[in-house]
C-alpha cells in the first residue's frame, strides 16, 4: 500500500498529523472487592485548558450545545469561523447526570502534564514534577488493577491519548509495590493508525494454527536454553499471550478498515473532524472491542487558544460534539449501555487576561499561568438514572481535581482496598443517589 493511498483512505492526512467470594487457583479464598455502582467507567479528560467563561458561563454563546442546555447564539464576530457540525437532538448530556460548575484545580502548576498527572493519580504536584519520569504516586489504573478482586487484565484498563511526549508515561507509576504489572494499556491512535505506524507494523506475517504450535514448541526450546540475567529496561505493561492475540486482531482490523476508507469521515462531519474527534472515535473502537471496565481518554485541541481564540472556540464545539458522541456510543454498546459512568473534566482552565496574540477576528489568545480563572473548571458526572443524580447542577464551589480517583474507585468498588492515606481527595457524593 502506497503512503499517499493509505493516508487518503485513512482520512488522517489533514490532521498533520457485584461480586461474590472466589477461590484462587492456589486455593486461597479471597473476599471479592466491595459492591459496585457501575461495571464500567469512562473518564474523559476534556483537556487542553478550557476556561469557564467560554464553556459553562457561555460568554461567547453556547459553544457546548450537546453537553449544556441552552440555545444562546455564538458571538457574531466569530460565528462565521465555526466549522459546520450537526446540532444536538434529544436531551443534552448534562441532563443525564450532575454538572459541577464550581470545580477546582486547587493547587500546583496549571500545566497540561501537571493537570493530567494530578487527575490520574489523585494527588496534586508542584514544579518539581519530572516530565521525563513516570508519576511519583500510583495511577488510577494501578489502584484498580492491584486492589480490585478478582484481578483484571490490562485489557480492562486503557489510557488513550492524542498526545505523545510525557503522556504515554501516565499508564503506570514508579511507586513501590505498584508499577507496570498493574498499569493500563496505552494507545496513541493518531500515531498508531498513521502512515508511519502502518509502515512499521501494518503488514505482519500471520501464522496459522499449525505454525503457532510450531512456534510454541520452538520458543520453549529456545527459552529453555537461556536464563535471562539482566534488568529489564523497558518492561512496559505486559499483556498475556491470549490478550496479545486479541490486540493483534484489533490492530489488524483497524488497519484493514483504514485501508478500506472507513476512517475517511467516520462521523459524517466532513472536514470538521479534528484530532480530538479522531481520538475519541478510536476510543470508541477500543470500547466496542474490549468493553473495558476503566478507560481514560483525553482531548487536547482547544490548546490552540495560545495562538487563536476563535479556533479555541471552534475546537471547544468539536470537543463537545465528540463527548456526546462517546456517550451515545456507550449507550449503544451491549454490556456498557446503562451500566457506565462517564466523567468529564478539564485538566485546568485558562487565564482571565489575554496574551498579545490576535487572531483574524481580532480576538486575543489565552494562556494558562496559574491565575484564579485558570484553576476554575467544571466536572460532569453522567450515568444510569438509578446511580447518578440526573439533570442536577451544582453552582457552588464543590469538588476538585483530586476527587476524581476516589470517586471512580468507589464507583467500581475498590475504594476500601486502597491503603489509607494514599488519596487525599473525597468521593463526589453529591452526584450519586
Amino acid at each position: 500500500m502506497e503512503r499517499r493511498k493509505f493516508l487518503k483512505k485513512a482520512g488522517l492526512a489533514s490532521l498533520g498529523l457485584a461480586a461474590s467470594p472466589y477461590i484462587l487457583p492456589s486455593g486461597r479464598l479471597f473476599a471479592a472487592t466491595g459492591s459496585r455502582m457501575v461495571n464500567h467507567v469512562v473518564f474523559c479528560l476534556f483537556a487542553g485548558g478550557v476556561r469557564d467563561l467560554e464553556s459553562i458561563q457561555k460568554a461567547e454563546g453556547n459553544l457546548m450545545p450537546h453537553i449544556l442546555s441552552g440555545t444562546e447564539p455564538i458571538s457574531g464576530d466569530i460565528s462565521g469561523s465555526m466549522d459546520p457540525l450537526p446540532g444536538p437532538s434529544g436531551p443534552r448530556l448534562q441532563e443525564f447526570g450532575t454538572l459541577y460548575k464550581g470545580f477546582k484545580y486547587s493547587t500546583g502548576p496549571t500545566g497540561h502534564i501537571n493537570g493530567h498527572n494530578a487527575v490520574i493519580t489523585g494527588r496534586y504536584n508542584d514544579t518539581s514534577l519530572n516530565l521525563l519520569s513516570r508519576p511519583e504516586y500510583p495511577t488510577l489504573f494501578e489502584y484498580y488493577r492491584k486492589h480490585y478482586q478478582p484481578e483484571r487484565s490490562a485489557l480492562d484498563a486503557w489510557w488513550i491519548s492524542n498526545q505523545l511526549g510525557p503522556y504515554p508515561d501516565l499508564n503506570y507509576s514508579n511507586y513501590p509495590g505498584y508499577g507496570p504489572l498493574y498499569g493500563a494499556n496505552f494507545l496513541a491512535p493518531l500515531s498508531m493508525v498513521s502512515q508511519e505506524g502502518y509502515d512499521a507494523v501494518g503488514s505482519p506475517t500471520n501464522f496459522d494454527p499449525d505454525e503457532k504450535d510450531q512456534i510454541n514448541q520452538l520458543q520453549k526450546f529456545f527459552n529453555g536454553n537461556f536464563q535471562a540475567a539482566g534488568e529489564s529496561l523497558f518492561a512496559g505493561v505486559p499483556n498475556t499471550r491470549e490478550d496479545r492475540e486479541a490486540l493483534d486482531a484489533f490492530l489488524s482490523q483497524t488497519y484493514q478498515e483504514a485501508l478500506a476508507g472507513v476512517y475517511t469521515d467516520p462521523w459524517g462531519v466532513g472536514a470538521s473532524m479534528n484530532g480530538d474527534m479522531y481520538n475519541l472515535f478510536f476510543a470508541e473502537k477500543v470500547m466496542e472491542a474490549f468493553k473495558p471496565e476503566l478507560m481514560v481518554v483525553n482531548m487536547f485541541d482547544v490548546d490552540v487558544a495560545h495562538q487563536n481564540f476563535t479556533q479555541y472556540c471552534n475546537n471547544l464545539r468539536k470537543a463537545d460534539y465528540a463527548l456526546a458522541h462517546l456517550w451515545n456510543t456507550i449507550q449503544s454498546t451491549p454490556g456498557m449501555a446503562n451500566d457506565t459512568l462517564l466523567i468529564a473534566v478539564p485538566e485546568h482552565g485558562r487565564n482571565l487576561e489575554a496574551n498579545t496574540i490576535q487572531d483574524a477576528n481580532g480576538r486575543f489568545a489565552l494562556d494558562h499561568t496559574g491565575d484564579e480563572m485558570s484553576r476554575s473548571i467544571f466536572c460532569l458526572v453522567a450515568g444510569p438514572n438509578n446511580v447518578v443524580n440526573q439533570n442536577q447542577v451544582i453552582q457552588s464551589t464543590t469538588g476538585e481535581t483530586i476527587d476524581i480517583v476516589p470517586t471512580i474507585a468507589k464507583a467500581l468498588g475498590f475504594d476500601q482496598d486502597i491503603p489509607g492515606g494514599m488519596l487525599p481527595g473525597r468521593f463526589l457524593n453529591e452526584a450519586f443517589l
Binding site: 490490562a154 489510557w159 505523545l164 504515554p168 499508564n171 498499569g183 493500563a184 494499556n185 496505552f186 494507545l187 496513541a188 491512535p189 500515531s191 498508531m192 498513521s194 508511519e196 505506524g197 509502515d199 512499521a200 507494523v201 501494518g202 503488514s203 505482519p204 506475517t205 500471520n206 501464522f207 499449525d210 505454525e211 510450531q214 512456534i215 514448541q217 520452538l218 520458543q219 526450546f221 529456545f222 527459552n223 536454553n225 537461556f226 536464563q227 535471562a228 540475567a229 539482566g230 534488568e231 529489564s232 529496561l233 523497558f234 518492561a235 512496559g236 505493561v237 505486559p238 499483556n239 496479545r244 490486540l247 493483534d248 490492530l251
Partner: protein
C-alpha cells in the same frame, strides 16, 4: 682442560646461542563469541529494532524507518507486543535475507549454524543443532521464517 680450550668454549657459546633458531609460538585466528549465558544486557527498543533490521536485511534501517519504529513503540504501552509486530513485519518483507525452505531442508545443520551466528551471534551448541535438525527433518511443513520468528522473539534475542 687447559686455559686455551676453555677460552675457545667461552667464545663459541654465544656464537652457538646466536645461531639457534628461535622458538615462535603461534595461535590460529579465532573468532570469539559470547556464550548465551554471558548476555546480561537487555536491548533497548532502538537497539532491538536496529539489530533485528540489520540481522534480516544486512544493513541499518534508514532514519525514516527507525523513526517509524520508534513511533509505534511510543504509541502503544506493551513494548513486547510491538516488538512481536515489528519482527513479523520484517520477516514478511521481501528484502529479508532468510534462506528458503529448500535450502533449509537440503542442509539443516548449516541452516541452524547460520541462524545462530546471525541472530544469537554465537555458534549453535551440539545439543541445539541436534534438536533443530531433528525438528526440521520431522516437520515437513516447517518454514524457515517460523524458526527465525521463534528465535527473534525468544528471551536470548532480547539480550546481548
Amino acid at each position: 682442560m687447559n686455559m686455551r680450550a676453555f677460552k675457545l668454549i667461552l667464545l663459541l657459546i654465544p656464537i652457538i646461542w646466536a645461531c639457534e633458531k628461535p622458538t615462535i609460538y603461534e595461535v590460529d585466528t579465532l573468532q570469539v563469541y559470547s556464550d548465551g549465558g554471558e548476555k546480561i544486557n537487555r536491548k533497548t527498543s532502538s537497539e532491538f529494532i536496529s539489530i533485528a533490521f540489520a540481522d534480516l536485511f544486512g544493513s541499518a534501517p534508514t532514519a525514516a524507518e527507525l523513526s517509524n519504529f520508534n513511533l509505534v513503540y511510543e504509541a502503544f504501552g506493551d513494548p513486547e507486543f510491538i516488538e512481536d509486530l515489528i519482527v513479523r513485519n520484517l520477516i514478511n518483507d521481501p528484502r529479508s535475507d532468510i534462506p528458503s525452505q529448500s535450502e533449509m531442508k537440503a542442509d539443516p545443520e548449516s541452516f541452524v549454524q547460520e541462524a545462530y551466528l546471525s541472530l544469537y551471534n554465537r555458534p549453535a551448541q551440539e545439543s541445539e543443532v541436534y534438536f533443530l535438525r531433528e525438528y526440521i527433518e520431522s516437520t515437513p511443513d516447517l518454514l524457515p521464517t517460523t524458526i527465525y520468528y521463534g528465535m527473534m522473539t525468544s528471551e536470548e534475542y532480547r539480550y546481548y
